[in-house]
Symmetry: C2
Subunit: 443 residues, 2 copies
């Protein structure tokens, strides 16, 4: 049987999973690729370290040249995270004539245009199914299966860590901090989970999906983004009482020829498929004008799900499919049509607001006055019976022992800009303690 | 821009949808295929008939030779249903050097081996994303994205008509007949819906999925199959009371090296994604040993969803991806690994049983005696308070005016064979009226 020699750069969690699939289950790849994918080299920093997966002698190396200068190695899976040296290594691999597979979404979101241009100039390909949604097939469906559609919207849960944390807060009433700790214990969250919980990771993935689906070409950091780190378990309980669950939702929605685009903790109507995504799972809901709604759900991270996608890309690359897709789609090139992101201030929607206010006459009048002046109309109000004291959380203000009550307001449809201004005004009011939590609502 | 000439055979619902996408939205296919898909010919029986989609002059033809003898036409979508003349036309297209795209799952389930062998001999390809799950990407995910996995199981709702009927019976308490009528009014069911409601359509699609996913090579008619046509709205209500919904579920599940395989109305635990598939939607839940659970949901039929899949296949074929997939996967060939279907009698599971019995002493003892002798143990019993009289539905038996009560039994885990024998014995009992309904239970 024909043999295609492949190499891996990096032997962390995902790299070990890929090695395991190639070494222990070579018969599968042989069957589906019509050839053996032969693991020739694995680049690591320290070849002496004991590995979870046992590799044949001579496979481990600390020298990139052993890969770049071996003309028999055709395909390389680049599996180290971060931007550097990942970017430099990726360019060196392309320059040396390798087709590349990667799971590094940060790298693509940051340097996609440069890497893709260079690969095109060199006649090489980059495949990246594992970069978004882990093992869930989503890059291939968007780049192949749904190409007859105008993609109208993508609504997605793209960060499993945040989803796990929200699920813990929702179903167990855990505090944010203890949910984060639990996620770390289970290996779902990094020691520093900032990129997961502040929405950056989801924004990077959304930038990639919206580029493929809709031709969006902006830097991911320009996507309006709020994280889950300021939420309280009570927000999930209020949401539930109102008939919603809170999800860190990545949204790309065409409105005429503009693209509404944001990542934010969002109230998602209970009973809809997205509201039922639990634990560390991911899900992507795509609407195309021909196909209608299509929904994809599965593990968005983890060793073997991600390795599943990487090996599929290795097969696609070895058999030549990846090269065709790469050539015809012209991703991140001058030929990609541009869509304009809609001004975030102009994005319409209903909102959930929660704040903690002094329990004294006239407070509600002040709040409704602010909303009224911004043209935001109120759909419902919950004033919770539980009370705390200002000293608990707001020692800076001189209101010791005054009663404080949480207030939750659901608005009618308004604009993000009007709401933002209202929240800024709330934050200036003496009677409002701590920040005002706001979340868009999705029916 | 480069141009690939394509033709359609058939201009029914799906054909019109495909023509619409090619003619009105050519810019999309051009963008995603890197070339124009040029609709050169459409074969119809009567070119004079007025069509829903207006075609350029000279495109309609009633002569297959205008397609087979035009060497500029490279790809043909074969969109007529049934087995003949679909099979003969498909062979003629392949012989004349065309790559073929089809949505005809019956044709593939029946003549897959012959058609695929012939295409391979001729160096041609067949693409068929639209044959299963309509617009839902499932053939491509199974043939490309999940190829690093051993597929452990496929559980799927593959017939939108049945799902719509069950949903009407469940949510509106409609009778089976009125639900069928409603489905016909809305265009979800054919005038003769037999293939939809008796499970044949789902069995054909399951045969295709299990072939790609697990290497199953049996004729679809060998798949044990029960339909929804004997169900009563009360079955859906009992199921709901027990915490389940009834779905026509297609199951392919590896048990060691055997494949459990069947299509049957099944009690699906409420709250699981499959239980929440409503209306005419389809869904496929795939478990792979690396990727874990992956779930796909969308419109399984209908003009534009199916056309979306057909056009994606036209693009895949025009750019050369379909040829690679076809060549490497060797579907329906001698090279496909075989799995052995597990003896249906040996398939384990819990069961729901409903029957109508005479309300007299000793009946329950007779029923439990039968179950006991077959080694089937009872988990719970519902004896409904509502009563009917035997004359309502069973005029043949001489039991006028005797009270009849429905009894629902949930069993503990047993074997299909033991249950079948018990049901055969029930059907012989004087005190049991009409057939005994049995459905497997899926947690």
């Amino acid at each position: 049987m024909e043999k295609t020699k492949v190499a891996l750069v990096g032997m962390g969690t995902v790299g070990s999973g890929v090695a395991k699939l190639l070494l222990d289950y070579g018969d599968r790849t042989a069957r589906h690729a019509g050839r053996t994918l032969w693991l020739e080299k694995v680049l690591v920093r320290n070849p002496e370290r004991v590995r979870a997966v046992e590799l044949p002698d001579g496979v481990l190396t600390s020298s990139l040249e052993e890969i770049t200068e071996n003309s028999e190695i055709k395909v390389v899976a680049q599996l180290i995270g971060g931007l550097e040296p990942a970017r430099t290594i990726m360019l060196q691999l392309l320059e040396s004539g390798k087709d590349v597979v990667t799971a590094n979404k940060a790298l693509l979101a940051e340097h996609g245009p440069e890497l893709f241009d260079r690969a095109r100039e060199l006649g090489r390909s980059i495949a990246f199914e594992a970069a978004v949604g882990g093992g869930i097939p989503i890059i291939t469906p968007l780049s192949q299966c749904l190409t007859a559609n105008r993609i109208e919207s993508i609504h997605a849960i793209l960060n499993g860590t945040s989803n796990f944390i929200l699920d813990q807060m929702d179903t167990r009433g855990s505090s944010y901090d203890s949910a984060v700790q639990r996620a770390q214990e289970l290996g779902y969250a990094e020691a520093d989970p900032t990129m997961d919980v502040d929405g950056s990771d989801a924004a990077q993935k959304l930038a990639i999906l919206a580029h493929i689906g809709m031709g969006l070409k902006i830097h991911w950091s320009e996507i309006p983004c709020r994280g889950i780190d300021s939420l309280d378990p009570s927000d999930l309980q209020y949401a539930r009482r109102l008939g919603y669950r809170v999800k860190l939702l990545a949204t790309a929605q065409m409105v005429e020829d503009d693209l509404e685009l944001h990542v934010a903790p969002t109230l998602v109507k209970m009973g809809t498929p997205l509201s039922e995504v639990h634990g560390a799972y991911n899900a992507i809901r795509v609407v195309g004008d021909a196909v209608g709604k299509v929904f994809f759900h599965g593990m968005g991270a983890g060793q073997m799900p991600t390795a599943s996608a990487v090996v599929a890309d290795l097969i696609d690359t070895a058999v030549g499919r990846a090269a065709i897709t790469f050539r015809t789609l012209k991703l991140w090139s001058e030929n990609t049509p541009r869509v304009t992101p809609r001004q975030y201030d102009q994005v319409p929607g209903r909102y959930y607001l929660r704040m903690r206010v002094l329990d004294e006459p006239g407070v509600m009048a002040k709040l409704t006055d602010v909303l009224g002046r911004q043209g935001v109309s109120i759909a419902s109000i919950i004033q919770h019976e539980e009370e705390t004291t200002a000293t608990d959380t707001s020692p800076a203000k001189d209101t010791n022992s005054q009663a404080i009550v949480p207030i939750v307001i659901m608005t009618h449809e308004t604009k993000e800009g009007a709401l933002r201004k209202a929240v800024e005004e709330f934050d200036q009011l003496e009677c409002v303690f701590g920040g005002c939590i706001r979340m868009p609502v999705r029916e």
